[in-house]
């Protein structure tokens, strides 16, 4: 467009990319420092550790009862994924297909748990769960985690369902299929990619959900991220390396699921809801 070189513009572009680069560099260094620390025999006052070892992972495994913690984490995550799928998908179907009085109000009710931060509603929620003698148990943790995940599934699934041509369902009904049959034989196969994406994101969110689990978990119902918090909180009691080893275990668990989820969804969908297909 302009034959003259726009030096100011170039400088600005360079500055923007430098800022992004600096952010990513710091992020990478931050993660690398956790991984290195977990492998270090000793790391004090030097650039890199003086020696490397795997034994902190074994230590962390025993010290923090990681086996139990991991079992609880996956029990909670599996239960949350299944229940939010079972409740969220039909609700999304109703909201996507039918227009009924109170639909807008219902959307608002589903929107709020996603907008209000977990710590804000977690404290009243934990109070209610304590009254019901559910807090401190794995059931309380599962229930608390469902609060944001069910609406999350609803909002991810609505555009997926709107995308499906309604005539496909009508054709099935013409041939005498009931709602259950339409669901099982028509909608489910068509919706599988969307459901998979939604549930994988729910899984990642549940493994990483700190606040709600923290507020409702008891000693035997901690998930990995809560156990990590307590270990850091009481840092000094345990060696720094074994806490970092646990952090690495957590990181690996989260990132594996994230990588799988990213095969099905766009990263921006993790913060915003799925965009409507034009």
């Amino acid at each position: 467009m302009n034959s003259k070189v726009d030096w100011g513009g170039r400088l600005w572009v360079t500055a923007v990319w430098a800022m992004v680069g600096l952010f990513i560099l710091n992020l990478a260094a931050l993660i690398a420092s956790v991984v290195l620390q977990s492998l270090a025999t000793r790391w004090l006052g030097t650039w890199t550790p003086t020696g490397y070892t795997w034994h902190w992972f074994a230590d962390a495994w025993d010290e923090f009862d990681l086996q139990d913690v991991l079992i609880v984490t996956f029990q909670v995550a599996a239960a949350v994924v299944v229940v939010s799928g079972l409740l969220g998908v039909p609700a999304a179907y109703a909201l996507a297909r039918r227009d009924f009085p109170g639909r807008a109000a219902m959307l608002l009710v589903f929107m709020l748990p996603l907008l209000v931060p977990p710590i804000t509603f977690g404290i009243p929620l934990a109070t209610v769960l304590y009254q019901a003698h559910l807090a401190g148990t794995i059931w309380g943790v599962i229930l608390a985690n469902l609060v944001p995940t069910v609406p999350f599934v609803v909002f991810i699934m609505i555009p997926f369902i709107e995308q499906i041509d309604q005539r496909v369902e009508q054709a099935a009904r013409v041939f005498g299929a009931g709602t259950a049959q339409v669901f099982r034989h028509v909608l489910l196969p068509l919706l599988t990619p969307g459901i998979l994406a939604a549930l994988l994101l729910v899984l990642v969110r549940t493994i990483g959900m700190f606040e709600l689990t923290f507020l409702t978990a008891g000693p035997t119902s901690q998930t990995l991220v809560v156990a990590l918090y307590y270990a850091e909180f009481a840092a000094g009691v345990r060696s720094q390396q074994s806490i970092n080893a646990m952090a690495v275990v957590y990181m690996v668990n989260t990132l594996i699921w994230l990588l799988i989820a990213l095969r099905f969804v766009n990263p921006t969908q993790i913060v915003t809801r799925a965009k409507k297909q034009a």
Binding site: M1, A29, W47, L87, I119, T120, P124, T127, L146, L258
Partner: protein, 273 residues
């Protein structure tokens, strides 16, 4: 009705606890109906947490948005933005607890950052970056910037490029195009982004404990609520603080949306309206 089970769950576990919490907050362990609220606003130890939280959340959110907009405008022009967005989604997924752990290593007095700055003779003594205000501030940047950025990006990519091309054709240079075309179109989206990011930052909890000074400069309102509930077992007071926290968030969001209402609202795409 297919939506009923999901609705019941959200009502029972979200709406009901809030109402219950509100009623509970009006039944203090001692004193009159509003004793908890009176105590919160008269006890500086409690009341100051509100100001501290604003002091932390507001600058962080503004910084994140200010940084997100130019980056998003550049990324929009990239052919494969997916690599970058994938990298940026990692800190969100890992969560604040892990980021706090990493920052304690990386930003500590013996950490790499201080070592690099010392080696480059940029500083004389190690910077104190953890266990104070800046530790929490930086952790909110690390987890908050990607969140803000991805939201901003989704708004920026929603703007029809032909609008900007039209401006360019009429001779507007890049800064002009930004001020007169993009910014007015972006403001409504940025207002929503601000609300979501601010509310996230306002409810900072784990990093304020692990990276901050939870007894001092970063005793944020969520710590006050938590300690009332689980250290003093005063659920009535804790509910009152949680309600105040929610109201403060609603207030901030309300102010931003009211301001937004004064500005342009309309389609960001052309044609086929």
């Amino acid at each position: 009705m297919l939506a009923v089970p999901a609705l019941l769950l959200v009502c029972a576990l979200f709406v009901y606890p809030f109402l219950y919490g509100f009623v509970l907050s009006l039944e203090p362990t001692q004193g009159s109906v509003f004793a908890n609220y009176v105590k919160f606003f008269s006890d500086p130890f409690l009341f100051d947490t509100l100001g501290r939280t604003f002091l932390l959340a507001l600058p962080v959110t503004l910084l994140n948005i200010a940084a997100s907009v130019p980056v998003a405008l550049r990324v929009r022009l990239m052919r494969r933005p997916r690599v970058l967005t994938t990298i940026l989604v990692i800190p969100i997924t890992l969560g604040t607890v892990l980021v706090a752990e990493g920052m304690l290593n990386y930003l500590g007095p013996q950490g790499w950052l201080n070592r690099v700055l010392l080696a480059a003779h940029l500083i004389e003594t190690p910077l104190r970056l953890v266990h104070n205000y800046w530790g929490v501030f930086l952790s909110l940047v690390i987890t908050g910037f990607p969140f803000t950025f991805l939201l901003t990006l989704s708004y920026v990519t929603g703007i029809d490029p032909s609008l900007e091309q039209a401006g360019a054709m009429l001779g507007a240079r890049e800064p002009q195009r930004f001020i007169t075309i993009l910014l007015p179109l972006l403001v409504p989206g940025l207002a929503i982004t601000f609300c979501l990011s601010f509310v996230q930052a306002f409810s900072v909890f784990p990093s304020a404990v692990l990276l901050g000074a939870p007894a001092g400069a970063t005793r944020v309102i969520s710590i006050a609520a938590y300690s009332a509930a689980f250290e003093d077992y005063d659920y009535s007071m804790a509910s009152a603080i949680a309600i105040i926290m929610a109201l403060a968030q609603v207030f901030a969001v309300g102010v931003v949306l009211a301001l937004r209402g004064l500005l342009y609202r309309g389609p960001v795409s052309t044609g086929k309206g």
